[in-house]
Symmetry: D2
Subunit: 380 residues, 4 copies
């Protein structure tokens, strides 16, 4: 008995195009999926490069116009891995064409774009998900399970950071291909949408909705040369973004994202403190979680350093044996495996576009608060 | 040739009375001081207990009225280790009597009290210092030296936390002896003055003045039984206090203090990120500092885990040999040794009362911002 | 211009069959190989299972008799991932048939088997390698490069351990499928060949040949039930194996492997101490290396905790971006990519069978010394 | 009611003279001792220096001939902190004179010396102890308690190391004052007696007697200039000493001490692996212990990082509050407090001279095995 086929069309071949393609290929090797996944087509504007990408990753064909890709009857799923300013238009068109849609984060450049995208996929009733991949780090999923068990009791504090240091040099140019993250009109914002959005998505998954925020942002280097023209231009994005907030469950939190934290490459950290338990996780050692349970016998109470690599921990039975760690790209494989499984079962796969919009509502409030210098309520 | 004598009178015999007494005794054994230090008298209200304390620590006499202690001609230095609400009155009287004054932190319950204390010691021209002992952790002093060297370049970020978990239980009572930290009229505030003040003092020493703050505070458990009467009463202190701020040097920072962070006993952490270097320190492993220098050769660049125990690192040549750590109480010994040395040289010993007042100005702004929900400038 | 084809035939579908298959698939996606790799056939005794394995991993065909596989003209490379007692016979036959041979470690059950295998591949002049995959952890390769640079100066000490805890229970059975590691006639030895061989291979790669050893082994649980028959039988393998040794460069070392170290899953650790530098690595956090250089300025000298994830560190430019870690299976992908590249360039790919034999000579000396209770020279 | 007096006479004013003196002074401040301890006299050959030492530490008098000190009727306790070659003669004379004796480790330069010392104190029935201070690190004492509870089950493995790097330079001289550790006739051996003896004492306390050993030692730098004469002379001491052993309880162990492990200052590490539990401790972070209990729930099982600073952990209620660490010198204070308490109760204080001799028997076997290249049984 042969499996049903799931034909994927990818848009974008940058960093995220690679992580998604790897997920499409690996998911079926390690997980028992209800569909056979076919890499049908990849689409990007540069014809030569997109062909090379297709050959490398095993896509059967390539396109240079995303509208054509969406029109193709042999495509079931549109995966959006192109810059942020294309997300809304593509996703809405794909939904209208009845395609399933997976979209790189952030969903929109702002909550208004996101709201239109949610409306489109919900109207079309097509499966949809946003690639907030860090939910699927086994240690993070495990933390979600521990919280859902009620082990932590009342939550008092949450903290999250995303620290990088790659833009500190004044000599780094902005603008042009590969540098769209510096262009606020394309990206929507700087670290707020690029990094902080990850922190917020995980936080709300683990700790519920955020009620109100007080934020500050900064652009440390005010002008940069344009990569192509050489013109010195103002920098439009935020280099750093910090906020305090209250969650609806009454807990207090602080968040920070920056590309000016020397010594940190991609240090996403999160900590949650409850009445009974606390936990800490970070991306630089993503296979570990620090866990504390006050109910442990006092004399030997301590933070447990858990190497999340056993078969009874989330996703791990599909990989190797205890002690052998998996890496970054596996989070995408997990999300794709979950998505395909959910499609097979007629269920939704979190985070849906609606959940992605919830994060955009928080980042909007953050950016607004940084301007008004007031506490701002998170919108609906 | 015999040394000059320095006669100490201590007020208060609680936790801080012990750390200060130990410092008075140990400083002369390990440091070459310009004075011979004599433990002349200790003063507290309970006559039996104060005698026992005097005997244990080798004080020659005891008093039960601090005014009498100040009047004694054989006392050169008044050390204030009594509850916060006594600091101003005692310090001002001691200064007027021409005594040197050492005062436990925070200097006043608020900046107004602190301002009067500064005025008194400056008018009397008496040596004065506030026991912000964490400056004298060798690793922290070393960090100050590295910053003063200019190694870090422009500073972008500062972060500090002081996390504890000892008041989470609803069953913990408030009020009565040994529990004055719960009484806002005595303590001035909760964690803001008790813990956050430490973070702020170190931060301004390392990174300069703070310009403006946006804060939030919380009292998680709203009512507690009084320890003596058994009456259930509102809790007046803040259990948690967080703020964002800008330093005058343009760096962005976040601070947090709480007694509701499960799993953390006394976790004071600080991190500073500069253009070239970053450093991290925490109180649970106070003999270590994490240091990163981007100018290291790329292939072997990493956070250096420095075990601060060598003779060429601050204060360490006075103790043991490399690899052998010192502990918490040594920070007080260092401060006392520095104070006595400064007195001998006719210099001031930081932090002076004026510096202590600067921290009270920030904590005042924090408490104000938490009420107004606005950014508040730090006063003068 | 299309690439030349490299047709792979795999023997064995256990844990190592999976890691090798993944490597065959992933290498071409992430590395620019001189051949297109085709998964031509997989061979194992159980026809149903081998078919399922072939389908899952994309092998074009399956076989149940390894001799048939070797006879096939459409196979260029025989990869041996079957139990240790089959390595010699298969490898020799494959070499005689002119096939390239990759062999899981240890090469033989003992050095005599290994010697015959070396003779066969060298006589046939076929490319050959042993899957000592841990050499290709980026951090370990980087350490090799640092040593080759001469940074360390004279080497004084080397230490290696491989600690597991999965066989502590008396209830664990021995014998039968999936449990061949407990059968000394199949495995050759217990932890000595299974774990210690990894430590030895890396050690000699980094620090040169081992001259003499003094060893002790132990079988803690003396009898176990057979998995199929239920009969209680003596345990033939070593549960723990420790040795001291001298390297030819004059350094002293200690090695240990055990499956009775509670709390450790697969904790391969290594440390090397030289005149100027030291380094430490372990498998539980394989993307990190601890590095110390005494020539660093004294005041800020410390162990550098290096997150090996940058593009200028070995293999990493082929994967993601700084801060994002790769995992265990990537080591196999690296070895396969290196092997195929070496084949394309007409070079050998270390470790060759000859290097694999060198490790068997050390494990033979270890097992002998444990019996004679004497220092034993490592044979030639 | 005033306390009985305990009059101490110290011999030696080097590093250990300081740690012991500090213990004599601090013990009574922090522990409720049955005696008032008086620092009666300190003895060393250099009259000026011994006077200065006496003044600094508060000794009432000084001597330059240890025999005179022993003859003094006003001395109850002789504390030996002079070089190893003086231990036996002094201790035997002190015992004969009916004095209590505390002796720095190692007890003798070899087991024969130790045996005579044991005979003397046992014949004289005087209280005696050897300063193996690391037993009194709170984390180590706690580990002893956990083992005595039976939590660990059968023990399989023990590992200990003492790594330093301060003698790597060829330029370091030998001979003359302050350098007696390089003189084998004074010290008895190199790292074997200086460092490894610490590891062995703790190991036998925690894990019982050692049965047999196989050892190797090395002197990496064969000749050094004499500090005073400038003559180049052979180095007589061992720079590194490693051994494998079996304990009487059947567990296997490895030990190592060296002064050639670059990057390590005084890294004493120990690990013990039992059927149910494992634990790890090291001297560079002496206030922490890593503890693993396999009986913890599988999903959240991990190594517990315990910050040993709570009042219910050994010795800690006498110091500060949770989270605040103590340091190296406190171990001596604990041992002295325990000794004085034991004297008051008419009990012995471990480690007695007899226990100190047991360690010398192991170091003798180690040195012998390194020469014979055989396994050597530990003598009686």
């Amino acid at each position: 008995m042969s499996k049903k086929q799931l034909n994927v069309g990818l848009i974008g071949y940058g960093f995220m195009g690679r992580t998604h393609s790897n997920a499409f290929l690996q998911a079926g090797r390690f997980f028992d999926l209800p569909y056979k996944v076919n890499l049908k087509a990849v689409c990007a504007r540069n014809a030569d490069r997109v062909k090379a990408f297709a050959e490398n990753w095993g896509y059967e064909s390539s396109e240079t116009d995303w509208r054509k890709l969406i029109e193709r009857a042999d495509i079931d799923l549109i995966d959006i891995a192109s810059p942020n300013d294309t997300h809304a238009e593509i996703a809405i068109a794909a939904a209208k064409a009845g395609k399933m849609v997976m979209c790189e984060k952030p969903l929109g450049r702002n909550a208004d774009e996101a709201r239109a995208m949610v409306a489109a996929v919900e109207a079309a009733k097509v499966p949809n998900t946003v690639w907030y991949n860090y939910r699927r780090v086994p240690a993070v999923t495990m933390l979600k399970n521990l919280l859902d068990d009620g082990r932590f009791g009342r939550i008092f504090h949450y903290r999250a950071k995303f620290l990088q240091d790659w833009t500190i040099s004044q000599d780094l140019p902005q603008g042009g291909e590969g540098l769209w993250r510096f262009d606020v009109s394309v990206a929507g914002s700087g670290v707020t949408g690029d990094l902080l959005a990850h922190n917020i998505d995980t936080a709300m998954w683990l700790n519920g909705p955020i009620k109100e925020v007080s934020a500050v942002t900064e652009t440390f280097i005010k002008e940069r040369k344009h990569n192509l023209t050489g013109d010195v231009q103002p920098v439009g994005i935020d280099d750093a973004s910090l906020f305090l907030c209250r969650f609806e469950n009454g807990s207090l939190a602080s968040f920070e994202a920056t590309r000016y934290a020397r010594g940190h490459k991609a240090l996403y950290t999160l900590e949650i403190n409850g009445e009974h338990c606390s936990a800490f996780w970070d991306l630089h050692d993503l296979h570990r979680i620090q866990y504390f349970d006050h109910r442990d016998e006092g004399i030997v109470r301590g933070w447990r350093n858990i190497h999340v690599s056993d078969g009874d921990q989330p996703y791990l039975k599909h990989w190797w044996v205890p002690g052998l760690q998996i890496g970054y790209e596996h989070t995408f494989t997990h999300q794709f495996a979950d998505f395909v499984t959910a499609v097979g079962e007629g269920k939704t796969c979190a985070p849906t576009f609606r959940e992605g919009m919830a994060t955009d509502l928080v980042t909007d409030a953050v950016l607004k608060s940084a301007k008004t210098r007031q506490w701002e309520a998170v919108g609906q």
